[in-house]
């Protein structure tokens, strides 16, 4: 039972990551490989502010979201106007750099030892220090993120984003400033990833650099591919299915030194097969109805 609740909390947190990546990759066609970096920036910012400086947890969470969004903005400034490959490599590099910062900026992040004793979330003086209580909170958070991004998807703004994804030149020919459309998607997506990171930090109350690796980005990528690019509900469901599957692989009794890379191997092959045979995902995005 405890494990089930724990898994559900992680699914809500990773689900927010899936919604964030789906906004950037699935809806806007922005190939962001630095998801784990934005997630980590949100987690470390909120953890350090609340733990070392006594900032109230809600406020520190918002600061984490803001900093992630800001980094997304700075990264986007020179790269979003270039072809997609640039953004991919720059964000991938960002992933490595942030990890180097978490690992090497020891006075602040305590390096590989990680940050213990991160304060729990509290709402109106009410401490969310048990997993079921936190689950309720993180569920509300994913619901808000979901509704927010769905609203974007169904709005005229979302329609232009899809246009940019399909044919950027065409969207420009219709007089849309595609640069800012993409920038907004990138900034909102980065902020959402930061939110997921903050939630993770205050739920676990301990973080270290190993939680923010490229592998996580890849895992969420697989989830949104399975759920269908641009399909938010599909992305969240697929995240849940993949996480249960991953737990299953963990219980299969293999030594961890083999189990982790084996998982990576299986998921990697799965992603190659899926991209070739079902490039829009298992449950492709539905054409929105505009009434």
């Amino acid at each position: 039972m405890e494990i089930a609740v724990h898994l559900l909390v992680l699914i809500t947190i990773y689900g927010i990551l899936a919604i964030s990546l789906n906004l950037m990759v699935g809806m806007a066609g922005l190939f962001n490989l630095g998801l784990a970096a934005f997630y980590g920036i949100g987690a470390y910012t909120s953890a350090i502010l609340s733990r070392n400086f006594g900032v109230p947890v809600g406020l520190s969470l918002l600061a984490g979201v803001a900093l992630s969004a800001l980094i997304g903005f700075i990264i986007g400034l020179p790269t979003v106007k270039l072809v997609g490959d640039y953004l991919a490599v720059v964000t991938m590099g960002l992933g490595e750099i942030t990890r180097a910062v978490f690992k090497n900026w020891v006075p602040v992040t305590r390096g590989p030892m990680g940050l213990p004793g991160i304060p729990h979330m509290s709402l109106f003086g009410f401490k969310l220090d048990t997993a079921p209580l936190f689950l309720a909170f993180s569920f509300v958070m994913i619901a808000i993120s979901f509704i927010f991004v769905e609203r974007i998807r169904l709005s005229p703004f979302g329609r232009v984003l899809r246009g940019v994804r399909e044919d950027e030149m065409g969207a420009q020919a219709l007089g849309k400033n595609t640069y800012w459309y993409k920038m907004i998607a990138l900034v909102v997506g980065s902020g959402l990833a930061g939110l997921a990171g903050g939630l993770f930090a205050h739920y676990m109350s301990f973080i270290d650099p190993s939680s923010f690796v490229m592998w996580l980005t890849f895992f969420i990528f697989l989830a949104i591919m399975m759920g269908g690019l641009g399909n938010n509900l599909g992305a969240v469901v697929a995240t849940g299915v993949l996480m249960v599957l991953r737990e299953g692989l963990r219980f299969a009794g293999l030594p961890p030194a083999v189990a982790a890379p084996l998982q990576q191997l299986i998921f990697g092959i799965l992603l190659i097969i899926m991209t070739i045979f079902a490039p829009r995902g298992l449950i492709p995005e539905q054409k929105p109805r505009y009434d």
Binding site: F31, N104, L262, I272, P279
Partner: protein, 294 residues
Amino acid sequence: MDIFAQLLVNGLIAGGTYALAAVGYSMVYSILKFINFAHGSIAMVGAYITFFLAIQSLHLPLPAAFFLSMLLTALLGISVERIAYRPLRRAPKLSTLTTAIAVSFVLDAAVMILMGADIKTFSLPVMQGYSIGPVLITPVQIIIIGASFFFMLLLYILLTRTKLGKAIRAVADDPSLAEASGINANVIIAAVFGIGSALAAAAGSLIGLDTNLQPTMGFLITIKAFAAVVLGGLGSVYGAIVGGFIIGIVENLGVWVIPPVWKDTIAYGILILVLFVRPAGLFGSVEQAGVLQQ
């Protein structure tokens, strides 16, 4: 001044290996307009094959292991293109990028399972270094820099003096026109992946000799080689070589002013700086960089 000369030489050594890795990127990009994210991981596999053949099992002489690894890695590169990239050649760019990432994860995982995730070193016998003026250089370092120049010269001859090289340049220039003049583009693309992967194997093995081996080294190679390619100008093979040397030299001189743990972040800093200042790089054209007019 002495330390400057030493760091410069160290930079040249590292730069040669980055240039070798970057060339493969640049060649694939100039033909397919696609960044092969798995290139760094392919270099990593090449390094491990050399290690496996020379140290771990067969104890082949190092040069033999090195060339055999280049051959095997070339076959790996050709197979990856055939299996994972060719079916997607007309698909949206997002799909090819996704499979390339997946391929790199598969390769990393396979090496981790087969060889273990720990750091491996060639641990060659320590040899007496030579002093040239104030600079100390080991025989291994001389081999590294000699080999990188040798392979770059070989590539230059291949591209400019052979029929295959002419065909490669033709396909890069205009694929449909090249096809119309009787060049089989599939064969040329396979050849480019083969050559690029062989050079990547050489780069990976030399980096392994210079430092050590780790299954995750592919990502770092990818970032540094890409920084070199962007600096030199995307799609320009010679630009990639120049970029590789600049990255290697700046990175090593940087150790002078900042703590060595941040060394790997310098290439990234250069990459961001180039994108802000001149996205087309030193020798690239604006169209090649795909800068969309706003």
